[in-house]
Amino acid sequence: MSLATLTRLALAGNRTDAARVALTALSALLATLAGLAALTVLAIEKPPGDAWQQSEQYVNALLREPGLRGGTAFALVMLTIPVLALAGQSARLGAPSRDRRLAALRLAGATPGQVTRVAMLETGLASLAGTVLGLACYLGGREVLHRPDDNGQLALPTDVLPPVPAMAAVVLGLPVLAAAATAVLLRAVATTPLGVVRRAGRTGSPQPWPALLIGLGVLAAAVVEPIQWALRGAALEWLALVAMVGIFGAVMGVIFGAGWIAHLAGRTLHRLARRPAALLAARRLTDDPWASSRTFAALLAALIIAGGAAAFRASFQLRAELEQEQNRLAGFGDDAFHDSFYLNTMDLVDLAVAAAVAIAAAGLLVTLVEGIVSRRRTYAALVATGVPRATIGTSIAWQVLAPVVPAVLIALGVGYAIGRLLTGDLSPGARRPDVPLEQLAVQGAGAIVAVLVVVGLGVLFLRSTTAVEELRAT
């Protein structure tokens, strides 16, 4: 097939295909911005002088202190995780109809390789459009935001540019990665001329083993402090590694645990259901509990970090209070130097968490709408036989909320527990920070409200997808 034919086939599609392409481009754009921001922070030159010399041209300590820049860049790269989850969820949008289109290609004589190439090209081109647009936004934003204040200091590192090869790697590498990921994902489905066959067999019902992962993660966090104490605070890199692996395990445990929770919620709901809405939701939950894991992965990961951040903030707050008290006792008064740097950093972390929750909610919306659209024939038939749309809407709400509420609580709890264990006690027998119940409640409620908003938006699609016309579709 010539490149022109390939391109034409890749771009031929309906509205859902257009939506998928747009979302793929948007995710690529966001990922590019995050990646370029990280590169920019890393491109700041270390000022001459001793190790404590700061880059005086910036307002923010995260940029001023060379030692903090690595962490800042890492946090920015971490922000791409929910973005990538969004990209993955977009890739599934309209997948059934695209798969059918690909099967039609196979029937028309295309080889499996050619079919895969068509899909790769679609993703690759869409991502390239996104990354190029992202680069343009980045370069434009640099110009617009380059506003030194009265002291000549900058809010953002708009005075440095990452090396061109690094920027090119982001702009060109992301689309290649995305295309490669598409090829891998397509390997899971076999596009035979007769249609699409999922290769993977049905997985059994989830077991509570993710609890073990969570337990190990919390345990890892618990041992870090005592070991550090025992070794008299000797800087141990491997200890940090243990903590990281533990946290990663706990995050995976919570995400996989969501599948188990969904299964359990579905079975409980099935037993208790009196109304059809609850029954429908219960059956869908037990039918594919892993759908919850996939759908809420980014949200739950963000909430674990939120819970951990709450623990760190409580600890920093207590430390600041204690210092102030000591200063007062020593007669320095309240106006002594007040180091709120850590608390400011926590504000940034909270902001990043909020951004991650918002992106996760967008991904959730994509998945939800995709689920509704792909089931439109069943829904239209139900409405035609007199099932009220409200019943279908309620069943969708049940299906989302029944697993997400407990999963959110667990994610916050696990995150807080790990954070609390890692911050440890300031000194043996010292005052302990109170559990920041208020902040945790706000985070949990915020996440659930975001989910509710998403459900409300998704249900709006019900009206158009349950129109009689859908009965004509096969």
């Binding site: 039918d287 069943t378 038939a381 035609a384 007199g386």
Partner: protein, 233 residues
Amino acid sequence: MTQLQARGLVKSYGPTPALRGITLDIDEGEIVAVTGPSGCGKSTLLHCLAGILRPDAGEVSWRGHRLDTWSEAARSRLRRTDFGVLFQFGQLVPELTAAENVALPLLLAGTGRRAARTAALTWLERLSVAECADVRPGEMSGGQQQRCATARALVTEPRVLFADEPTGALDTLAGEQVLTQLVRLAREHRTSVVLVTHEPRIAAYADREVVLRDGVIDHTGLGLDAPLAGGSR
């Protein structure tokens, strides 16, 4: 006694006219076959009669009440109580078992779960698919699925059953078996049936055949001689 009455039904989709003035009465317990070439407006007529679509002009009356002026909610309620609706395929909820699918309309009406299941099992039995009660649609044959769908359409003991090519996706033998059962049950319960089909042979099950052509009634005939009448035109 006339239960359902259509007067001068007109319906178009944009510039495409689908119905161009249809007048039709359906009596209690009567089985009416609607036939005609593809695209002549059979499904559109059925959707208008069942209150799924609103006609552009004309009226549909159910026991003397103007159905086409009712709200969507009221028509929806009518469809799950006095009307039963049956399509060609794809109307069963894939995650629910056959018994749960059949019980669904009863649950919507507020029947308790146990009573709904008992009734569902009875109807599955009547359609000779009792063995599928705890099986999901995906694991049944096409014929079994349509029997379950028929059981679901009849479980509320509707006064009118609307069926749009209910056996269109089945082979001749399976289709015939489903249809004979449907007709027998409808006769037992004095349920009126509006049966859309494009196979004249199937129309032989009906009391009356209404043949559409280009959105108008071409002619009507008695079910049994309809194939001949249809063929002579």
